[in-house]
């Protein structure tokens, strides 16, 4: 029994059939984005490039969710190819009570800021921990399947179900999967670092609110440490250059030859190709692809430099994890609404603080914060060392529970 209703812009497709199975996620309802494959479901990923496209097979993540008893309830509306949050419905599926858990792409930080904005928990796993097979994606080396929920325990259960090696994704390293269900067995986060150069991007009042929130968080027995990463501002340039170059390549498959929209006006295949590629991309993705092509074809040296800087920044973050178990970063910025970012520069402005985890492939979680002050900090972002995922989720869960008790 399939029904195609569009719940006020949240879903593009709903499945009203499946009963819950048994397993870790028994009884949990899960939505996926329209760019994560579920066999037979329409999967247009918010793009004309994929008009009419239906997924042929299940993404590894979708299969593993079902194997652990989850009910896949439908696919949510998304911004084109997952870039930005302009048309995204994932967080609202959770806040409207239509799904317990929402799965969504995290490229520049979409899963984290969608959650931060909606007052729920949004998490991005360590790169390579979750198979990307079946994720349409746009920036292969910086994309991850994020998880949104009100409950950190549900997110941990999702990770216990989906994390780990997949023979269909060769880019996953061979490494042990963190024990997501075994909170006590994981090393606890005791010291929390914050980066001087990151908070410098906040207005004074915002900065005070953020540091106040960290002090509040530390009351649960954490030690706060001030750290320094001088080149913090470079995360933005590095992400933008590498991300746009990879996107330009990754979007090369959208050409109207095998699927999707094809320009009707062409007289021969050459023209068909050019016109189709000219017409299929929207106002955010198109300039982003142009930027990538520009670096690729005209400024290759800049791309190479960005790759070197990326390695440097990853080493710098590792150095900071020698001083603190996890790093706290702001999430939202006053005056930069992530849901409104419609240009590439507005996108990078709004997602400034979520870029480090994307660039370095590190786990990160955003969770809501409430000081009772309407002008106060609304969400805190924690970034952990590689494979420190379980500790981050445990801390986020604890913080959310404590706040609920306080109020």
């Amino acid at each position: 029994m399939r029904e195609k209703t569009m719940d006020s812009g949240i879903f593009v497709y709903r499945e009203e059939a499946a009963a819950s199975g048994t397993g870790l996620l028994k009884g949990r309802t899960v939505s996926v984005q329209a760019g994560l494959s579920v066999a037979g479901w329409p999967a247009e990923a918010g793009s004309l490039a994929l008009r009419g496209f239906k997924a042929i097979e299940d993404a590894t993540v979708a299969r593993r969710l079902r194997e652990q008893g989850a009910v896949l309830v439908g696919s949510t509306r998304m911004s084109e190819l997952g870039l930005g949050l302009r048309d995204d419905g994932a967080a609202r599926a959770v806040t409207a009570g239509l799904a317990d858990i929402a799965m969504m792409t995290d490229l520049v930080g979409e899963a984290r800021l969608a959650a931060a904005d909606a007052g729920i928990i949004g998490y991005r796993p360590s790169y390579g921990l979750v198979s990307r097979y079946g994720l349409f994606g746009l920036i292969p080396s910086m994309e991850a399947i994020g998880v949104l929920s009100r409950s950190a325990a549900d997110i941990a259960a999702v990770m216990a179900a989906v994390a780990g090696r997949d023979e269909k994704d060769f880019s996953m390293p061979e490494e042990p999967v963190p024990g997501f269900l075994d909170g006590a067995g994981q090393p606890r986060i005791r010291t929390l670092g914050w980066i001087r150069e990151s908070v410098a991007f906040l207005e004074r009042q915002e900065r005070q609110a953020f540091l106040l929130a960290l002090e509040g968080l530390a009351k649960a027995g954490l030690t706060l440490v001030e750290t320094s990463l001088e080149e913090f501002e470079l995360f933005r340039a590095v992400h933008q250059v590498i991300g746009s170059v990879e996107a330009s390549s990754a979007a090369g498959k959208y050409d109207g030859v095998r699927f999707g929209y094809r320009s009707p006006a062409a007289k021969n295949w050459n023209e068909m190709y050019l016109k189709t590629r000219g017409e299929i991309f929207g106002p955010l993705v198109k300039p982003y692809l142009f930027q990538g092509a520009y670096y690729q074809f005209m400024k290759y040296g800049a791309f190479e430099k960005a790759c070197r800087l990326r390695s440097h920044l990853i080493r710098e973050l590792q150095r900071l994890f020698g001083q603190a178990d996890a790093l706290a970063l702001p999430a939202l910025r006053a005056g930069f609404d992530p849901r409104e970012a419609g240009s590439v520069s507005a996108l990078y402005d709004a997602f400034l603080f979520t870029l480090p985890a994307s660039v370095a492939g590190l786990p990160a979680v955003c969770f809501p914060w409430d000081d009772g002050d309407p002008a106060g900090c609304r969400a805190i972002q924690l970034v952990g060392p590689r494979l420190g995922d379980a500790g981050l989720l445990a801390l986020a869960g604890q913080a959310v529970t404590n706040k609920t008790k306080e109020s």
Binding site: G35, S249, A251, G252, D255, V257, Y273
Partner: protein, 475 residues
């Protein structure tokens, strides 16, 4: 002015793997169009490449066969260009970190002197889809067959060491021998499992300048490769003579007209590291294991054949140049057949017979054992050479043993003195003139008389004995 040609070769070799390079689809480009495809090689959204271990092993064997050094780390890049034969807008190829570097092959130059030609590097890459342009009624349509998309290739890039069409052809022949030997590819230019492009420039003799080169493609045989290079050298000389500068471009060889013609430039973008295929890391131990899989290579084998079987160099090289053939030769020799006889008969009788019947050694009903039987009968003077040829021919069409064929066909040689003497008497009686000619000093007449005796015996007489008896009678 005296010019010399500077030629570098780029050789694409399709590896004969069971599957494609990044998915499990069968590597059979010739099947019904678009039969061997999956989400990975069609590059549907959500699919990820899975690099094939078999492709890596076959590529590595080919690299070792060409004396290259396998790199412990190599990686795939995206060669970006937009064309309907490339379903994802880039080709996975190893532009920055190739699988192997620094190889060589020895050839004989025009004067027969040995010359070493260097190989710069060998990288792996995937093949692209095949485009078919045809008419549907009066509307031109372009069809895409993805069977070949993702097929495993290696590209061998030489240093600009080639100086003549002869050297280029010798290099390719030798390369084909080496790669066939390790079993990585058939390397057939005719069927397209090997494609050779030549980069050609000319310069004043004695100069060390590297002038603008022209790339020539579309040669579908080794002979055409030589012809195309020869043509292009002359064309460039003529251009310079008429004051025209050489410009960097690509030309296609037209085998009908025997000329090279300029082709439209294809846009080619840069190569960026591919983020989805992990870096390929191999250990010294793995390389050693690959090296251990190498068979005895042709040059070493030829030397051994010369030494152990006492074969002349030519025969030894001819046999060693083909792995199956050399195995066949050794199998026949092991069956108590003198190696020289085996070598000679294999090359002059057996190979032409296979070719005539379009058979491979593996598919031939004439096994080494059966062939050796025939040759042993020949050596023992039980049959003569003419009969041996005939018996051999019959063995291709029957399962019977060589003995049975010899008996049934009455090929056993007549050697007993009494029968032969009576035949000789008959012939001498019938040809008194020839007898007289011989006795008056015309040695040629002996040959005629032997021929007559052989004919009278229906070819079964032992020619050596016939000769002896004739000589004694004529004395």
């Amino acid at each position: 002015m005296q010019y010399e040609a500077i030629v570098g070769l780029e050789i694409h070799v399709e590896l004969n793997c069971l599957t494609k390079m990044f998915c499990d689809c069968p590597n059979r480009p010739g099947d019904e169009p678009n039969r061997n495809t999956c989400p990975v090689c069609l590059w549907l959204p959500g699919a990820l490449p899975r690099f094939s271990r078999e492709a890596l092993e076959k590529a590595a064997l080919a690299c070792l066969a060409l004396n290259c050094e396998i790199q412990k780390r190599s990686a795939f890049d995206q060669k970006v260009y937009y064309y309907p034969d490339l379903p994802k807008g880039y080709q996975l190829s190893q532009a920055h970190h190739p699988l192997a570097r620094g190889g060589w092959l020895d050839i004989a130059d025009e004067k027969g002197a040995p010359k070493r030609l260097r190989i710069r590097h060998i990288h792996m890459e995937e093949d692209v889809a095949k485009l078919i342009h045809e008419l549907e009624g009066r509307t031109p349509v372009s069809l895409v067959d993805f069977n070949r998309a993702g097929a495993p290739l290696i590209e061998i890039v030489t240093e600009p060491d080639v100086r003549s069409p002869h050297e280029a052809m010798e290099f390719i022949r030798n390369l084909r021998t080496q790669i066939r030997y390790v079993g990585s590819s058939e390397c057939s230019m005719e069927t397209g499992t090997m494609r050779v492009d030549a980069n050609i420039s000319i310069r004043e003799q004695g100069s060390s300048a590297m002038n603008t080169k022209v790339e020539v493609k579309n040669m579908n045989s080794i002979r055409h490769l030589g012809d195309a290079i020869a043509y292009e050298i002359e064309r460039q000389k003529a251009s310079l003579a008429s004051g025209e500068a050489i410009v960097l471009h690509t030309r296609l060889w037209d085998p009908e007209k025997g000329v090279t013609l300029p082709m439209r430039g294809k846009f080619e973008g840069p190569c960026v590291p591919d983020p989805s295929v992990p870096e390929i890391v191999v250990t010294g131990e793995w390389i050693a294991r690959m090296r251990a899989l190498l068979p005895e290579m042709p040059a070493l084998k030829a030397a051994r054949f010369q030494r152990d079987y006492d074969l002349p160099r030519e025969l030894a090289s001819s046999l060693a140049g083909d792995r199956e053939l050399s195995d066949y030769f050794e199998a026949v020799s092991r069956e108590s057949v003198p190696p020289r006889t085996a070598a000679h008969w294999i090359l002059t009788q057996y190979l032409p017979a296979l070719k005539e019947r379009q058979l491979s050694i593996a598919a031939s009903p004439v096994t080494p054992g059966r062939f050796a039987d025939v040759l042993r009968r020949l050596e023992a003077d039980e049959i003569n050479a003419a009969s041996a040829r005939e018996v051999l021919a019959r063995l291709f069409d029957t399962d019977e043993s060589p003995d049975a064929v010899i008996e049934r066909g009455g090929f056993r040689q007549v050697s007993d003195a009494a029968s032969l003497e009576s035949l000789v008497e008959q012939v001498l009686g019938a040809h008194p003139t020839a007898m007289g000619d011989y006795r008056s000093g015309q040695a040629k007449a002996l040959g005629f008389l032997i021929g007559q005796v052989m004919q009278a015996s229906s070819g079964k007489a032992n020619p050596k004995r016939v000769r002896e008896i004739l000589l004694s009678k004529l004395a």
